[in-house]
Every structure is written in C-alpha cells, then in structure tokens.
Symmetry: D2
Subunit: 396 residues, 4 copies
C-alpha cells in the first residue's frame, strides 16, 4: 500500500530514523582494542536508565523472554518456590515458564484489567514464616491489558513482611517509558527488551541485576550456560562479550540511550503520560468506550487496551485497520481475544502519530459497525493536548 | 522533537523507505560497461510516465528550474517571443526567467486562484497572424495556489489557431501524480523534477522533449552548454552522460519508476484524486474554510491551499504547526503570503498520513484563534474515504 | 582512520551492502496477516541451504552458542552421556557447556591442528555396547585453528558401529560456505549462526533439527523454555514466533538466502575453495609460513590460521595490523594465543578483498620483525587465482 | 560478483559509510525555521576548506561543469576574451565551453602530461597591454592525465604583468585533497564538485567567488538565470535557496566537512601525498612503467595515469579489471585513449584500499600480456608506506 504503515502494536515500536541510521554499519571485530569504547558506553548509560549505581546491566542476545529465564536460572535452585501474580497474557507466560522450568509457583490470580495486588503479596509473604519463597515476581506493565502496577508497593510488602526474597520485575513495556528505580525500590532483577521504550528492533534482552542477585547466582545450582550472568559480568568487565554480539544493535543501543539522555528521563516520562492522556481522552471521552484497565490507578502510559462493545469483534477492527488503512493495532490475546484492540503509545511518538492511530481506529470501527461519533476521538485528544504543556527537551 | 516529522509541503515529498534504501549505495564507475543497464532502464520507464513513444526523456543534474531554462535556451533564439500566463508564484518565476534571459513575453495575467485561460490563449494565438510567437508556456499545476490547468485545452487553442508555436508545459507538481499525456497533447517540452510525484529528493531535473523540439534545438542560436539537449541525447544513446551523474539518484529513480509502474499509473492518479478529495472535504465541509482555487475545475489533486479567515495569519498557523506539532505545511508566497497555508498531498501518501495533517492543522489553527470545529476535518475526510473504493494496486 | 576498515576476523563477516539495505526497514507488526510471507520464505529457503527436505529449520534470537544449548537441552535427559572431540577453542567451549549443563562427556582429545578423528569415534561407539551414548558431537570447522572435519566420516562411524546416538554438528563457520548435507549425512541437529556464511550480523541462532531429534525432544526431560524446539515449531507452522523476532534480521536473512540461491550453492562452495586456495598459496608458497592445520585434509576453506615463527608474537602482528593498517585479523585463542593470527575468508569476499588482507598482513609482519619477502604473498595468490576459472554466478 | 567493488576512478570517489548514513534522511521543509542551521553550517565550513574569509561559497544543484558555466556567465560579457591552457580532456572541455558560449579564447596548447605553463601565461598577459583579457582560466589538477599545476605561479604571472583579469581555477579534482588557498592566491572563482575530495555523490556544484567576482557579476551582461550568483547569495544570506535543494546532499556535505575538519586539512593533504607516493612507487619502481605526468613537478596527488607499454591496450586492462576482478579503473580519454589507465587516489582512502587497486591492476595487466613482475607493485608501495609516518588525525 502507498504511504507509511502506522505501527501501534505495543512493540516492536517505531524505531527513529536516527537509530536506523546508527545501525546501518559495516561489521567490525568485536575483540578489537577499540570495541570496549562502544560496549562500555552502552553499559554505563544503561545504569542511568535503570536508575542504579550498584546494579549491573547485562545485555543478552535474546528477546526479553530470555531475561525472564536468566533471572530464574541464575538466582534460584531447582524446585525453588516463587510468588507471582497473573492478570494478562504476559504475566501468564512468565508463570508458565516458572512451572516448565520446575519451580513451584504460588500464583495470585487477579482479574484481567487490574494489576499486581500489593496487599495479597504482603499476606502471602507474611504467611511464609520460614522464608521458603525465594523470589517475588511482579510485572510493572502488563502489555496485554494495558495495566500498570505499583512496583514500589510490592517492595514495601517485602519490607513490611521482613521477607528476604529476591524481587524480580518485568519492566519490558515500562522501562525507558515510565519511571523505574532499581536502587530505590531495591529490585534484584529488572527484565526488559530492546523493542519497546528503548526504540530498537527486537534482539537484545536488556536486564539489570543487583549485588544480592549476583551473590545468589554464585551459589545457585540451577544448570545454565547461555544465560549465565557471571560469564557476562566477567567478559563485560573488560568490555567484551562471551559470544559474538550484534554490532548494529550495540550501535543502535548507544544512539537510543543518547537520545533518551539528551531528552532527559523525566521529560521522557512526562511525554509518555502526556501522549497517553490524549489517547485515553479519545477512548473514554470521545468514543465513549471503556479501557480494559478497570480504574485510573491501573492505566498504563505505554499501551491502552480498548474494549469493543459486546456483540462486536475487536479482531475484525484490527484486520480492517491493517488491510484498508495501513494501521497496525495490537490484538486481544487469550482470554480477551476479540474483546479488545490495543494502541501502543510507547517509545518514539508524538501527537500527530497518535492522531493517525485515533483517526484510523475510528474509521476501522465504523467500518465494522461500532458506532462511535466521527471525529470525536481526535477532538478529545486535541483538547487534552492543547491544554497542556508540550513535552520538553525532546530529542531531535 | 520526539516522533516523526509530518511533511506536507508540496515538495520535497515524503520519500518512501523503499526508495531511501535503493539510494543507499556505494558509488560506482559511471563509465563502466554495466552502467548503461541502469541509465537506460530509467530512461525507458520515464517514457511510460510521460506517456510518450516519440519523445525523448532527459535527466539533468539540476532542479526543475534548470529544465525551464533548458526549454527556453535550447529551442529558441535570443529575443524570441513567447506567450505565457501568470497566476501564482511559480508561473511568475517562469515568466521572470524568460525576461531575464532576454525573451519577449506576452503575459496573460490571471487572478491567483484560477488557472490557464484557454480562451485567452486562443485569442492571442489567433491574433498572431505572422506566427512571431515561438513558444506557448503553460503550467499544469500552480503549486503556490493549488490550481490545476487544462493542458489539453491549450493544445486545442494552438490547433484551433493553426499556430505552429512550440508547447512547453511545466508539470513539476503534476507529473506522476495526475495524468499527463506528452504524445496525445503534442507537448514539445514537459518540465518536471524529482522531488514531487517521483518521490525522490530534489536534484534531478526531469524533462521530456518532442522530435519537433529537438529539431528546433538543432537550429536555435541561444548560447547554452550545461543544459544542452543534444549533448545529453548523444551521450544517453549509449547509456552514458556528458558529465558525472548522481549514482544514488539514478538508483532512486529506477526504484521510484518501478513502484509507479507496479501500482499502475491510472491507479496512481485515482489515489491522488481520492486522497485530495478527502482533504478538500475536511477543508470545505469540515472546517467550512475556502480554498484558494476558486472553482472545482481549478482544484488541484496534488496540493490544497487553504485560505485563512481575514484577520488571521496563515504564517502563524504554519509556525505553530511546525514548532508545536512537528508538522510542516506550505506557506503562502508573494501575493498570498499570510493569507493561506498549503497542504501537499502528492507522491507517497495514504489516508492516515493526511489525517495527521488535518488533525495537526486543526490544532494549529485553534491555537492561533481560528475557530474551526474540533474534529470536523477528520470527520469529513473520514466520511469521504469510507464511502469510496480504496486505491488499488498500490505499491508495497 | 580514513578509508574502509578491512575485516577478516572469521565472523562477523562482511555484510554486503545489499543486505545492509534490506535490513534498514521500519518495524512492523510481527503478528500481522502479512508477516508469515516473510518468515515462511526464510524457513523454506533455509531448508535448501541445509540440504534437507525432512529436517526443520529453527531460528532463535540468540547467538550460535544458544543453538548448542538448544540441541543439548531439547534432545537429552539430565546427566546423559555424549561423545565429543576437542581440538580448538570452540570445540572446547562446547564440551565445557555440556559439562556445565550436567551431561557426562566422553572427550576425544586431539592435537590442535587436526580435526575430528573418525576412527576414534568409531572405536568409542563400537565399545558402547549398551548404547549409553545418547549424542555424538562434531564440529565441521574449528574456527580457532582453521581446521575442517569430515562429517560424513563421523556418520559412517555411527553406521558402522550400528549406534543409535543422535548426531549433532556444529557448522557455525561452515554452513553456506562449504558443503553441508543434513539429509544425506543424517545429521540430527545442525547448529549455525547468522554472522558467518550467512553474511549477516550476529543475532540469529540458525539451526536445523531432524525428525528423530524432534521425536527425542518430545520425551526428553531436560528443563528448557526459551530454547524449546516445540514452541518454535508450533508457532512457525503458521508463520509466527513464540516471542518478538527481529524484523531487520529476518529481512536480512531473506535477502542473504536469496543471494546464496541466486549464486547457486555449489558456486558458493567453489568460490570459497578458490578464495581459500589463493590465501593458502600466499601463506605457504609466498611467505613460506605454516598453517595451524597440519595437513591438507584439515585445511579449512573458511579460515586460515597462520603460525608465526617461534620467537615472534602473533598478537603483536594483529595489533599492528589494526592500529596502523585498519585491518582486523583473528587472534590466537587459549592454547595458541600469540602463536598465530587468523585470516577469515568466508561469506561475501573476492580476490581483491583478500589481496588487501594479504598485503596488510605482510606489512604488519614486517613491522613486527617477521621476515617475509615483500610482495611474495600477493604474487603467490595472484598466480593461484589467475590460473583458475573465476567463480561463476556470483551475486550482484 | 561477490564481495565489494573496488572503485578507483578519479570520481565519484568512495563515499564513507558515515556520509552514506548521514544522507539516509527523510525529506524536510527547506523553508522551515530550522533549515538555515543546516545550510549555514555547510557554507561556513566550506569557507574553511576554500581557505577564504572574504570569498563566498555557493552550492549549485548541478555537476562541477555547471560551475564552469556559472563562472563565465556571471562574471563576463558576451564575446569577452579569456586566456586558458589545454593539456587534457577536462581543460579541453572547459575551453570548448567558452567557445560554445561565444567567448573568445586564447588557448595555450601544452603537451598532455604537462601542466599550466606559468611563463607562457605571463607572456600572454604582458602582451595584452589593453587588458582585453577579462579572465584567466587554469586547472589545478587535470584529471585526465594526472597532472598538477601550480596555481600560485599563475597568480604571480598576473601580478607580474600587473594584469587586472579575473582568475578562475578549476579545482574539481584538487579541492579538499591537495592545498587550495582562495585568499592567498587571490582566486576570483574556484570551481569544484561534490564527488571528489568532498567524498559525496555527484550532484552539487561547489564553487567560491571573490568580492571582485561578485562585483563583476553585478555589471556583467551575459544572460543567466539558473546559475545566477546573486540569486544564490541573496537567498543564502538568510539560510535558504532560490529553488529546492537536495536535503540528503546537504546533510552529506555537512558530515563530509565535519570529517575533513576533524581530521585537519593539513593532515588530509599529507594523507593524499602519502597515499599517492605509495601508488607512484608501485608504478615507477615496482612495475617499471611510466606516468603520463612527465616530471615530478606535474605529479598529481589525487590521480595517477599509468602509461601502458606500446603495443598493449589500456582499455583492455580496464575491461579485464572490471569484469574479472571487480575493480574500476579510469580510462584514457580522447588523445590518450587506450594508452593509459588511471588510478584515482583521492577522497576517503587508505593503504589497503590502494593495495587492492595495485594488486588488481597487476593481475589485469598480466592477464592482458603486460609483463610486470608479480607482487612488485605491492612490494614497492609497502616499502614506501612502511618507511613514512602514518597520516595523523584521520577521521573515524
């Protein structure tokens, strides 16, 4: 089809041209004397993004899924008990992975549309007098439902229960888009990937591990090799990798980090909440539709899941948007298949990109018999954005 | 600023990624045995775009302006008389060039907002019994006012007056977007450039000359060298150029032509009229504003000039759109400075790209005190597009 | 430094501009209806490269190392016994991985400079009357020493011993450069990566598994999740992936496979042996130096390891080549550190690229006090190449 | 063919990847408030390259040929008398252009292989008591013969004759590779192009005009429009252009200028003489062949024209190099067709790039029956380079 494709799946996100350019490089020797300049710059800047001074960022050639596995296999022993909550397809898959890898999982089942239940975490931790729970898993942003969780509250639950378990946070669709604080929240492993807020293609598992996690890894007996933290940490110390890294992805990562730091992390977070606010205004006030997220406290600033009216089909809207309007929306997965469509608004975006998404969603809904008022979404978003200060310091 | 810039000046137009990729090539020897494959493919496909079998396409390393000069200096003698009409900044500049180069110009002055007056051309030609007018100049699409002219009607005027003058057509912002017929209309020189419907950066003057024009060039005495047709025609015959061509631009041109032919020229023209229709619906029915083009017969399918209400400033809208919403609109030039802003809708575009332009223009207008109904432009465009068949065969 | 860097480490190899261009794409929805076109084309063409009809190619977002791990963890049970040989850094690392993952490894230790000892494999297999050896591991090309092994001979050893063990082949620096025959050799898992003969950046683990291996995976109890074959096979069946794939790498892979098939695999293999022959002529006949590979049967057509005279330092040559001549050579690893330097000649290469490597190595050796005859390497390579037919069908 | 093409025509030269990346940009509004940042940076940095403070750089969308024409048509009146010398195809073409444009040319005919004859210029100027010669034309580097001329000596001739004529210098294949001093040599128009020392594709005519030239342009009567200096100077003053510029070429130019200034102009010049010295060593000492340039004072540091032995055909060498070895060499043009081949060594280059050219030329010559000693060229160049300091400060 003529013209640009408008991509609003919540990952991979739109890679800025500046990053695409930075990635269009000839290969080079990853064991050269010059190479550590590149790798050490990436690792140093990642620390700023994770807001950590004591943590250690690690970059795996993998998807974010690989970093889930790395957290479990490095820090735990076979059969260890972990505590997790499940309220969407991605929290489900992490729980499923724990079970497949032979861990015992206490699952807090939560309605899809709500987030991590801090009180129930506290209860469970408080009840575990013998401290057999070795790790607590929480997802900062459930991509499947557009639900944000309060990681700091989970930290407080651990503290209130005086529980020594490790804290593993999935920040795949949150890091570099909404605030994440490795040190302040005493997170032991933060798990993310390249294709969301970091504005890169998929292909890098980006994770950060605390000193406590690394210490746990030293004694943990779960077999592992590819995803071994210590191999990485040892090689990274001199600026190298245990196996061949992707040269374009490292140059891309360096550029992405530079763009984030040029803009300023707090400005990046404001921009995400500003953009998200306009999108939610379109959905709630313009179209008069509902979000999957059941209350403002759960609203995600990186992805909005729009519930279609009962009797209509979210999948049909997505198909129509793609084939007729060159617009890619996110699907409803598993339990919510057909019940919603998702608009990703993370990474490199601005008002008019989202206006295209809003206008295109509206046309596709109308074509599928969902009676929204034409132009209403754009009008509501317009009012939201026009009344607020523009994001500052945004990258060139 | 974060996110993409939305570019809707009527040239340079948005270069599709497929073309940008085709242009990212290492240099090569432009005198190699392999080179003519590339150049001859471009020239052969250009004939299809000009709809000619007897005409000769020529590619100058220049802007379109250079092709204006080439037409005059190759086909005419110093001081020759030409007939032209003026109704916008670009028709003005061509007339001005004629005068600076020492030609005598009979100028048909027309209100800005109207196009080439076929009846007055006929009168002037009929009155020139001695055939001292050597060339008739007409602009198919005045980019400054968004006005389309009927080139076939000018051809009929020449025929009706049985006048032998050469016919020079400026199709800079029309070729490859709206229909142009070199052979059927017996055009002697068609003038265009790379940065409009051909979806390339500026840098190539793309022109096509009839056998009659080449014959005139043989005897014409106006001094010329860089823009000499015959030098080009002679070198092109074996696939080479008289001086070093731009390798990336030729690869880009080859790709652009292939995309146009894959889509099908008639589909390309339908797409442009379809997109333009939605934009005009937004302006006229949504915003209730006026176009600079005074009647439907003058409406351009490649650029729309939106008159701002009196007492408001089109330049302020453009500045606001650029600095706040990352949206580039075209300015009012010369006589219409401040009175309008222009939305280019030519080249590689689709509904959602224009939705972004419409929504962004609306926000900028509201910010500048122009009271349009929020969402009205998008709603009108949406209705227009949803009721009509989608463009077919569009390139990947 | 001015000018191009000349890259001759044996991976990552030089990525052709045509592939770099194919990779410079905007992101797209990996769950769209259009996406399977891309993924299924890659998988279908990979079967041709593996020379298999019954095998199943799998692409992991990982390095080749990840595919080593996948072979072990998918097809075996914890503590299973495997048979392997060790004669270089990469065969060492694979053995080491087996041990770290808790497998019992029978290691055939071989002098570095020789390859897989088929007779000793046969002995070991014949001696294993109870068939407790579950898998036989062999490396087709030891990148660290430039040694080629005869995989077909290992297959014959299994057959002669009537042993049912699975056959795992590391073809990381062989696949798509020298002949590999999945079906004919009845290989159960072939392991490779994107950054060698496939001419891509690192980032894809490219593997192929036989029906027998997939059947083994069904019952195998080793815990695994990220590298699970069945998850991949299930998702791939409809053209999708279990987790977000790298869009640029898939487009790059599609282009790479198309280039290989345009050239013709047998032509690709001839080209590699032709190029390698010239390099070896330079080393052996020109410089009068020795290869690490001890006999012609072990000579690798993808990488040559050049022994430096005793008393001189290979690492100094590499450092000098890099800092003064913009030339990246491969280092001696582990046991052979300092004793050799390596010239990779796999992937996209031609005579003059290697001439630059030869001339540059010569200058660096002379600068480091290694007395080779100036110009002798180039003269010997020149004679070799001029006397033989040029590679045919090479890609554009 | 597999592997890189080795490009050694003396323009277009090899565009560094860093510049190719800088050029891969989306289009933008060339009338935006942000645009002057880009254009004014280019113009300011160009002044440094021309070594001028009082001169005015101008960038035409054209080839260098266009700047020849601009110099003549802006500064002269129809029929004016100019003094020029001819000793190669490009000096010939400039003389030819003067004649075609109706100027009267006093041509100093010089043997091809020698350069501009300062003494004869002096004689001619001294003899012109009435100062009817309006301009003196000199070519700093004749690309067709690899001959360098002494521009400062021509300036002295003008001064010694106390002649007020304008001084026009063709520095197309010299600027940014060898020293050029606009102000010190009181050059009135310097003419160059993008595709040589500036390391860009063809497409920009890059010129610089003195205050005296601009003053002459004010009163000069030759008709001109596209190439009018004053239109450019007026528009450039605020950072804009009279017609649409090429966005990618301007970004490319900005990057190229930054690379030259990072390296340091004097380092750039040293690097060119260093590289050229190695190439000449290969030709003269290695191969025992002759240069077209007849004496060291004429040796060009940007291109070497190698005379093939009588009875052999330079064109055959070039054809063989291209079709068999993927090596592009420059042809002998006009009078010297078949008698020589040319190796360009300007722009972005280093030792090993030239080693490939030398080794490839040698193989092609041997294949065509020219008996050079195999390896002799590389050995001689190697000795030359190893004995001298490496170029400093070279760009990354």
């Amino acid at each position: 089809m003529a013209g640009r494709n408008f991509l609003f799946v919540p990952g991979p996100t739109n890679v800025p041209d500046r990053i695409l350019r930075a990635m269009a490089v000839p290969m080079e020797d990853h064991r050269s004397s010059k190479f550590p300049e590149l790798s050490q710059r990436c690792l140093a800047d990642l620390k700023k993004v994770f807001k950590t001074t004591s943590g250690t960022p690690i970059i795996f050639p993998s998807s974010g899924t690989g970093c889930w596995e790395a957290a479990l296999t490095n820090c735990l022993n076979p059969g260890d008990r972990v505590l997790a909550s499940r309220f969407g397809q991605f929290t489900h898959l992490w729980v499923d992975m724990c079970q497949r890898l032979g861990f015992e999982v206490d699952v807090l089942e939560v309605e899809w549309g709500e987030g991590a239940p801090a009180e129930r975490y506290l209860e469970a931790l408080a009840a575990d007098k013998k401290h057999t729970i070795r790790a607590v898993l929480v997802c900062q942003n459930e991509t499947a439902t557009g639900v944000n969780s309060d990681v700091a509250a989970i930290r407080r639950a651990l503290d209130d229960a005086r529980h020594p378990a490790l804290l593993f946070v999935d920040s795949v669709s949150a890091l570099a888009s909404v605030d994440f604080r490795m040190d302040e929240w005493q997170v032991d492993v933060c798990i993310s990937g390249s294709q969301k807020g970091l504005m890169l293609p998929a292909g890098l598992g980006v994770t950060c591990v605390s000193e406590k996690a690394l210490a746990a890894a030293k004694s943990a007996k779960y077999p592992r090799c590819y995803f071994d933290y210590q191999d990485m940490v040892t090689a990274n110390a001199s600026g190298y990798f245990p196996y061949t890294p992707s040269i374009p992805m490292l140059y891309g990562l360096r550029e992405a980090l530079q763009m984030l730091l040029e803009e300023g992390l707090e400005n990046v977070f404001y921009r995400h909440s500003y953009i998200a606010g306009g999108v939610r205004a379109a959905i709630l006030e313009g179209w008069k539709l509902k979000l999957c997220a059941r209350a403002p406290r759960w609203y995600s600033d990186t992805v909005s899941a729009v519930m279609v009216p009962s009797g209509t089909d979210g999948a049909a809207v997505i198909a129509r948007a793609f084939t007729r309007y060159n617009l890619a929306l996110g699907a409803g997965l598993s339990k919510v298949a057909g019940k919603l469509f998702r608009i990703g608004h993370l990474g490199d975006s601005n008002e008019l990109m989202l206006m295209a998404a809003i206008a295109g969603s509206e046309m596709a809904m109308l074509d599928c018999g969902i009676k929204v008022e034409p132009g209403s979404g754009v009008a509501a978003a317009s009012a939201f954005w026009r009344e607020r200060p523009a994001p500052a310091g945004a990258h060139a």
